[in-house]
Subunit: 153 residues, 2 copies
Amino acid sequence: MSEPRVRPKDYVFRTALTWGAGGRGVVRSEGKPDIEFAAPLEFGGHGGVWSPEDLQVAALESCILLTFLYFAARAGVELAGYSSTGEGTVRMGADGPSFTAFVVKPRIVVAEEAQVEAARQAVHKAEDACLVSRSLGENVEVSLEAEVSAAGL
Amino acid sequence: MSEPRVRPKDYVFRTALTWGAGGRGVVRSEGKPDIEFAAPLEFGGHGGVWSPEDLQVAALESCILLTFLYFAARAGVELAGYSSTGEGTVRMGADGPSFTAFVVKPRIVVAEEAQVEAARQAVHKAEDACLVSRSLGENVEVSLEAEVSAAGL
């Protein structure tokens, strides 16, 4: 008899939006604060509120962090701090616009010097395992440039 | 002499985040309201704040809307209302998690019956042209199920 295969499990995430007057809308997810949005200034929209492009960068950047935390915890890394910057580049090409690259730069502080290398390995794993990265096209480059240090050094 | 080629133009979108105590973080984009986030409840996180997965669905859903508006405006469609729901399915497969499908369901109201068909065509164009859709992998299915009606009918 063949091995029983593990059945993949699906999780569904839901949002809803309403478009309003003045070129702005609101996007909701049940039980969470509303997010006002608009087209970005660069594409004829508004400043001061989130754009779809900003939300895409935020999705990736926060996914990288949470994926890192998962691998860091498994490796016994005690985290003293984590912040990052993220940027996504949209190319307006002949065949239409698309993200071409994302760069996320985490600054990670671990509790002890002995954990620095394990944290670096967790970053490396997160780069490949983050579910938002994994959902992007093959032509979209995701790179992580992490600085890892130990607290008090 | 050969035609001069149009040079593609790049636009960069930036965010930054800080991870905090209690399994929550804050993601920022300059000049815009902060968004608190956490891993989703389904993956051991918190309810009540946005997750990376929610933000990914919001990015796609809002991008579909704004792309639709672009094509609708070009076709002279006068919009009386637009709302939508969006859902993204994450599959936890043997090789890791990934979005497998997004479904966005717009409810579009146009000012006049004569514009219904043009609005439907604009939806069809938006499905292919949305830059967030175009950045996703080939294995990620994006489908739109739009209801278009005329105001007062």
